[in-house]
């Protein structure tokens, strides 16, 4: 290039471009911290290991998945999106609970139902008690012979009972 001004202009251009590029790089979000990754990985299970949460799993595969979470976080994905991505890629078993759809509703519904049945049984037993208690109240009113001797014996027995307890 003959004209030094043009040389300068070209240099300036490239310098400016370089500045522009570096400034975009530095303006990018800082990489998500380990804690942010772990917060999501805690709720996920390792797709290949047996029953191991993703934040503590020690295999290389798990390390890759955690880096994947970090990458997705840095791209701006939120927790639900990342979890859904994992489900699409690896199946429902990566979630720590079955998703609330289809057959899986049974997981959540059956225990309360069975416990409810248990409560009904308990209430029935109590109804029985109520009936008996009512009977006894009625009897108390009809049995109106103040048997002093019997009541004395009962008091003594009560006293013994309390002493033994």
């Amino acid at each position: 290039m003959k004209n030094p001004l043009i040389k300068l202009a070209v240099l300036a251009f490239f310098f400016g471009a370089a500045m522009g590029i570096t400034s975009t790089v530095s303006a990018q979000e800082p990489m998500p911290s380990d804690n942010e990754v772990n917060a999501i990985a805690r709720d996920l299970f390792c797709p290949v290991c047996e029953n191991t949460p993703l934040d503590v799993c020690a295999t290389q595969a798990c390390a890759q998945w955690r880096e994947l979470i970090r990458l997705k976080l840095s791209e701006g994905w939120n927790e639900d999106q990342i979890k859904q991505y994992f489900v699409d890629q690896y199946g429902a078993r990566v979630l720590s609970e079955p998703p609330k759809q289809g057959l899986f509703w049974l997981v959540y519904v059956i225990p309360p139902i069975l416990i409810f049945i248990g409560v009904i049984i308990f209430i029935k037993a109590l109804r029985n008690i109520r009936a008996i208690e009512k009977e006894e109240m009625a009897l108390e009113q009809t049995a109106n012979e103040p048997d002093e001797y019997m009541s004395k014996i009962e008091e003594e027995l009560k006293g013994l009972k309390n002493a033994n307890r």
Binding site: D34, A58, S96, E97, F104, L114, I115, R130, I132
Partner: protein, 689 residues
């Protein structure tokens, strides 16, 4: 030579078990006491034989006998001696032999008791014990033989068999595979044995229950006999579960002690029903009620023990604990099926004989609250059972695998456990037969008030806003106060009357009623454990970061500084990366911790061992994370802060003490002893007829 001898002993024991079953049944129907007694002695003899066989296996393990395939599988030359021996239960075959050992030990112990008053129950107790022994010994004999040796066949491949195949020659491996690194921990010495002891000892109450059903002696004789066995079994099972948790906490590096893993739950389920059983039998003894419940509970406990063992060893469930897949699955399944069918049939057959001698008459009576107790435990059981089976159902019906994990279990069982803790407080205040809300209220309002005040204090001064923690602590403090008050009430009354010092009085009341006060001690220990659990589950915090040497990371009141690192090979074939971190709390230096990463060359597996600082209020748990490279330029640390977690371990110590107190035999009055002698001779005279 030694393996053959060991196998021979096991074979003989199997024969003895079969003989014992046949002789007992024949003796019962022919009314021949001699036959039944010979069956009893045969059962007794199994124990020394299996003991010698087990000792022989331990000898082989300790002496690097790599011509035996089991020794090859679970040991290696570089393992320390204590691990070589405890590797006995580190693999399927050895652990089945160990099961058989503990089983025959308990069966032999039960044969040594005084049978004179229970001659009719003896044959069936022997039968049930021997059938179980025959099953487990049979598994060892036919499927998983720890004494099988290596043979090299003509085509060069190496197989494992007991007897020499045609054309094959003995083969000795140069070194063993070694135990899975996760199992190389002192916990290996004690967690499996405790758990097995707990599982196996439930055979005894179960056998008495079935004997009671078969002979029609469904009164409380069987519960009285098995009362101590039930506490012993419960104690071992509790210790086994806690040890498993402790081991996971120390070694796994997950910062927790319980992951709701299916195999953990498989061990928890018998504990749940076993605890309900312990309480429910009291009602049968005092009021002649709940006979059906007690039969159901003990049968369920035993079936869950076998079922849990089956789930763990068959590979049906996906779990971190699973043994390698094996052929014993179908055999277990058949055994479980037969046990269930026979037990349930007997139960239905004798159902009418289990009718109660009295009735529930009051809503808040002790019987009523114990019924609620049973229902709560069964509810937790249902939640656990359903959660464990659901992935199986899902896979079969939809083809999709799912995980039922901690959120499900915590949400469902949390309130139920809270209910149990509350019951633990008020049930001792209720009376047999009749209690009103007024009487209960009168004896508990002070404790309720104090616990409310304390919890309010937590909310205001400690800024504890978690609603579950609030309820949890309120219930726990309430129950603790009531239980402590029970001690106080009895001790102060006695010290007043007997003119004794308060502490002496306290000691004496333990002597007078070991069962009750031992029980209250156990309740206090459970409350301590509950405090530890609430602390960790609800208030755990964690943080992770990569540090250069000299840098620090903070969590809560602590500052953790990375000061040094050493990486070296050890003489037992490991590569160790050991970091030194110094800890400051609230600006003050409190000590150093040494988290490390062990890499096992043999199995190419890493293990992270945390450095832990334990105090009464919390644990600082520092892990050296090994998924990133570890250097002084950058090492990644993961730090957990676990509040109150040590209450869990210390509570367990108190639990052991309480159980020992509860099961300690009461000193018999001399007049009672004399009477026993007299009745013994009359029974003997009569039976000679």
């Amino acid at each position: 030579m030694i393996p053959d001898f060991g196998y021979g002993l096991i074979l003989i024991s199997f024969g003895l078990a079969i003989y014992s079953i046949i002789a007992s049944v024949l003796g019962y129907y022919k009314r021949s006491f001699k036959l039944v007694d010979s069956a009893r002695l045969a059962m007794q003899l199994m124990f020394p034989l299996i003991t010698i066989a087990s000792v022989l296996l331990m000898y082989l393990l300790a002496t690097d006998a790599y011509y035996v395939s089991f020794v090859y599988e679970v040991t290696s030359r570089s393992m320390p001696m204590y691990l070589k021996i405890t590797a006995l239960w580190g693999g399927q075959a050895g652990s089945l032999l160990f099961w058989a050992w503990t089983l025959t030990a308990f069966s032999a112990a039960v044969t040594l008791r005084e049978w004179d008053r229970d001659r009719d129950l003896l044959p069936w107790v022997v039968v049930v014990n021997s059938v179980t022994a025959a099953f487990f010994i049979g598994l060892v004999v036919f499927f998983e033989n720890p004494f099988a040796k290596f043979w090299q066949t003509i085509d060069g491949s190496v197989i494992s068999a007991m007897f020499q195949p045609a054309g094959a020659v003995p083969f000795t491996a140069p070194d063993g595979q070694g135990l899975n690194p996760l199992l190389r921990h002192p916990g290996m010495i004690i967690h499996p044995p405790m758990l097995y002891l707990g599982f196996v000892s439930y055979v005894i109450p179960f056998s008495f229950a079935l004997a009671a059903l078969i002979t029609g002696r469904t009164d409380d004789r069987w519960t009285r006999i098995t009362r101590r066995w039930a506490i012993v079994a419960w104690l071992f099972l509790s210790i086994g579960l806690v040890l498993g948790g402790r081991w996971a906490y120390d070694v796994l590096g997950w910062g927790g002690y319980w992951g709701w893993d299916p195999v953990e739950i498989a061990a928890l389920m018998p504990w749940l029903v076993g605890t309900a059983f312990l309480h429910s039998v009291m009602i049968q003894e005092q009021r002649g009620m709940f006979k059906e419940w007690n039969m159901i509970l003990i049968i369920l406990t035993y079936i869950l023990v076998i079922f849990g063992t089956f789930l763990t060893r068959s590979g049906v469930l996906s779990s971190v604990h699973a043994f390698a897949q094996s052929a014993i699955g179908p055999a277990f399944f058949i055994f479980i099926g037969i046990t269930i069918v026979i037990s349930v049939s007997l139960l239905i057959y004798r159902w009418s004989d289990l009718k109660a001698e009295s009735e529930l008459t009051s809503l808040l009576s002790r019987e009523s609250l114990f019924l609620l107790n049973n229902l709560l435990f069964i509810s937790i059981l249902i939640v656990c059972f359903w959660g464990v089976l659901f992935p199986l159902i899902s896979e079969l019906v939809t083809g999709q695998k799912v995980t039922v994990g901690p959120p499900f279990y915590e949400r469902a069982t949390g309130p139920l456990f809270a209910g149990l803790l509350f019951l633990m407080g008020i049930a001792p205040l209720s009376a047999w037969g009749k209690t009103t809300l007024k009487t209960l209220g009168r004896s508990s309002w002070k404790s309720a008030a104090i616990s409310t005040v304390v919890v309010l204090g937590f909310v205001i001064f400690l800024k504890m806003y978690n609603p579950y923690a609030i309820i949890g602590f309120a219930v726990v403090i309430f129950s603790a106060l009531i239980t402590l008050h029970e001690f106080w009430r009895a001790a102060s009354a006695r010290s007043r009357v007997q003119k004794e010092n308060l502490f002496v009085a306290l000691w004496r009341i333990f002597g007078k009623n070991r069962r009750r006060y031992g029980g209250y001690l156990i309740h206090l220990s459970v409350i301590m454990m509950a405090i530890g659990i609430i602390g960790l589950e609800m208030f755990q915090t964690e943080t992770q970061g990569t540090l250069r040497q000299g840098e620090s990371i903070t969590i809560r009141d602590y500052k953790v500084t990375y000061t040094d690192l050493a990486i070296f090979d050890t003489n037992d074939n490991r590569n160790l990366a050991r970091a030194v971190v110094s800890i400051e709390k609230n600006g003050k230096y409190v000590g150093e911790l040494y988290p490390r990463r062990d890499y096992f060359y043999e199995s190419q597996q890493p293990m992270t061992i945390p450095g832990v600082r334990s105090t009464i209020e919390d644990d600082l748990y520092v892990l050296l994370v090994d998924w990133q490279p570890i250097t002084t330029e950058g090492a990644t640390f993961k730090i957990y802060h676990n509040p109150l977690v040590n209450w869990l371990w210390w509570g367990t110590y108190l639990l052991i003490i309480g159980s020992l107190v509860a099961m300690w035999p009461q000193k018999e009055k001399s007049s009672v002893r004399e009477q026993r002698k007299v009745s013994k001779s009359t029974i003997l005279d009569q039976s000679e007829a």
